[in-house]
Amino acid sequence: MRGKRSTSQAQRRGHAVFTGLCLLAGLAVAGALKPGLTKAKPYTPAFALNDQTRRAANSNAFAVVMGEVRATMADLIWVKTERYLHRGVAYGSHVNYEAMARKGEVQTNAPHADSTHQDHVGPPHEEPRGHEDHDHAEHAHDDDEQTHDEPDQHPERHVHDEHCNHGAYEAQDGHDPGACNHDHSVQAPDGDQEEGMSTVIPEAREDYRGFVGALHRAVQPWQDRDAPHEHTSGEQLLPWYRMLTYSNPSHVRGYMTGAWWLMKGAKNQEGLLDEAEAFIKEGIENNAESFVLQLMHGRVLIQREAWDEAIAACERAVELALRVRPQNPSPDSELWSESDEEDFRSALRYVPLIQWRKLADHDSARRNVRRVLTHAPNDLPLLQMLELIDQE
């Protein structure tokens, strides 16, 4: 009897030891593996996920049926930011997020709106997007300069964005050589470019629900599709970008757009530029391979006038971009979107531009223009820059 009891006790002890060992070993292995395995999550798809791709995927019958069921928390927050941007009114999807994330432009894909408008600029835009002949890198100008008049030599007007640094590319006569000629004097109030955009809650004449529809329109933020389309200040969106990137640290667009709004707010509020830099650095830490985040970091540093650091960030952006850029990128490429190419070229141009205009280091600038021209041999702004440096 005593023998049986001691056998049973020994068995129990054995079980306990075995269980303990399993627990410790399992937790140790799982805990040790996790950080390394997190790196297995990101991958480079065999196509470029641009707005066109997204629209195509989101407009088919399946997507419509599934609706927001497909959305992750980060995506829901992203949708939320759009609602905020439109003062709570839920419009059908129409914002060009590609442009918004990369440049902070609030462009619309609306059928009646051929506009690209930021909250500070809203002139009609006669070319849709991807005007390669324009250099976005070299004519960034400060928002406080935006009302100066420039001759509108071309019919095309481009929407200047945060990296539209005219100061950095202005020739000594104060004119922007090789820059696009856009009319900064034209200031339209926000939003009247997106009239006709349908809302998620339908209008009375299209709503079969009668009284229920009227109630819906009364209790939810709603406005007539023909009413002026308004955008709120992006600063209100910042907490949402914070939550978005907290919940999904791989949301590159969230980091870019958030950093852009912070940069913009920094012109009126001290300390925001520090926050923009911290935010974009966090994005880079979480998405080390993203060249657009490096480029955005470069832009933040340019606004800081930290020229050497900005050059380093842009060079890093070029280095990362070259890892994924196809040998001969074409506009139809599924691997490399037009926006990717535009950002890549911006990164290429920033380095010699800063060396030339800000550091007055003509030799380095010349050498760098020649070097980067090997990646974009026909890049007009770079060729013009070389010509101007040589002239000087």
């Binding site: 079980h15 306990a16 075995f18 269980t19 399993c22 627990l23 070993a25 399992g26 937790l27 292995v29 799982a30 805990g31 040790a32 593996l33 996790k34 950080p35 390394g36 395995l37 997190t38 790196k39 297995a40 999550k41 991958y43 480079t44 798809p45 065999a46 196509f47 791709t53 195509a56 995927a57 088919n60 019958a61 399946f62 997507a63 049926v65 599934m66 497909r70 992750t72 928390m73 939550m243 990137t245 907290y246 919940s247 999904n248 640290p249 599924e334």
Partner: protein, 271 residues
């Protein structure tokens, strides 16, 4: 019922190969239970709805690569999610139902250890999940057009890793179901499976990447690491051998942890 009656023939003819025989019968009992209850049919109905929708789309015509990719992605993600739900729902009621209906007594009266009983519950739950996942995957592949960059290698990796993830999930749900009421364990498992990673990200970031929190977060099973179907859909290429092996080991390690915890709990559980 059920396990007790299913065990009857096995016990009657106990022989030297008996160690595995009760397990086999327990597995069969759970499988029969799953078929007799509704979950499998719910999964079947949802699969049917997906098939119907995808077939309509196929007939109408899938014109672009994006749509083809979306249909494939949807099928695989739906399969992945539903199989996880199936495992959670099945696993959460295996032992509590037996205890509640008192059918656990005749089972334990037979010459089977409690560990065998648990294994007999967990194994078919996991197998049902894997079978459902294979069914969904097969159906999706049969319906959706395949794009040139969607190669079998990443899909095979995704399936294997998902199977490991379902094993983790089975262990987790059975362990939790031994501690708490069925509904609570079910909700907790769903929360951990679907929102675990997001919550951990939020906590880590909100605490400013504090070291302690980062270390503690490693002790939370991360199911999002184990879902690689989208990689196949997007032509993301193969995981390296090291990464794939690491993920499998991660799945096995958590399964061992939950299995050990469940066994320890069940061994001492007063019934």
């Amino acid at each position: 019922m059920d396990s007790a009656m299913e065990l009857q023939p096995a016990i009657g003819s106990a022989d030297s190969a008996g160690a595995l025989r009760p397990l086999r019968h327990l597995v069969r009992a759970v499988w029969l239970q799953a078929l007799r209850r509704n979950e499998i049919w719910v999964v079947g109905i949802l699969l049917g709805l997906y098939v119907l929708g995808a077939l309509v789309l196929r007939i109408v015509g899938i014109e672009s690569a994006q749509t083809a990719r979306f249909v494939t992605g949807l099928g695989l993600q739906l399969g992945s999610t539903l199989t996880a739900l199936l495992v959670i729902v099945m696993g959460a009621r295996q032992v509590p139902d037996e205890i509640e209906q008192r059918t656990i007594y005749p089972v334990l009266a037979k010459p089977v250890s409690r560990g065998q009983v648990l294994l007999g519950k967990g194994l078919p739950t996991w197998l049902a999940g894997v079978a459902a996942m294979l069914l969904f995957t097969g159906t999706t592949l049969a319906i959706a057009p395949r794009l040139p960059y969607q190669t079998p290698g990443p899909l095979a990796q995704a399936l294997l890793i998902k199977a490991a993830s379902l094993a983790m999930l089975t262990g987790l749900v059975i362990w939790l179901s031994l501690w708490m009421p069925k509904a609570v364990s079910l909700v907790l498992c769903c929360a951990l499976y679907f929102f675990g990673t997001t919550s951990v990200n939020l906590i880590i970031n909100a605490t400013g990447h504090a070291n302690v929190v980062q270390y503690l977060s490693r002790l939370v099973p991360d199911f999002s690491l184990m879902d690689h179907f989208q990689r196949y859909v997007d032509g993301g290429g193969l995981l390296s051998a090291g990464q794939a092996a690491g993920l499998m080991v991660y799945g096995v390690a958590w399964t061992v942890v939950f299995g050990a915890l469940a066994a320890a709990r069940f061994r001492r559980q007063p019934i």
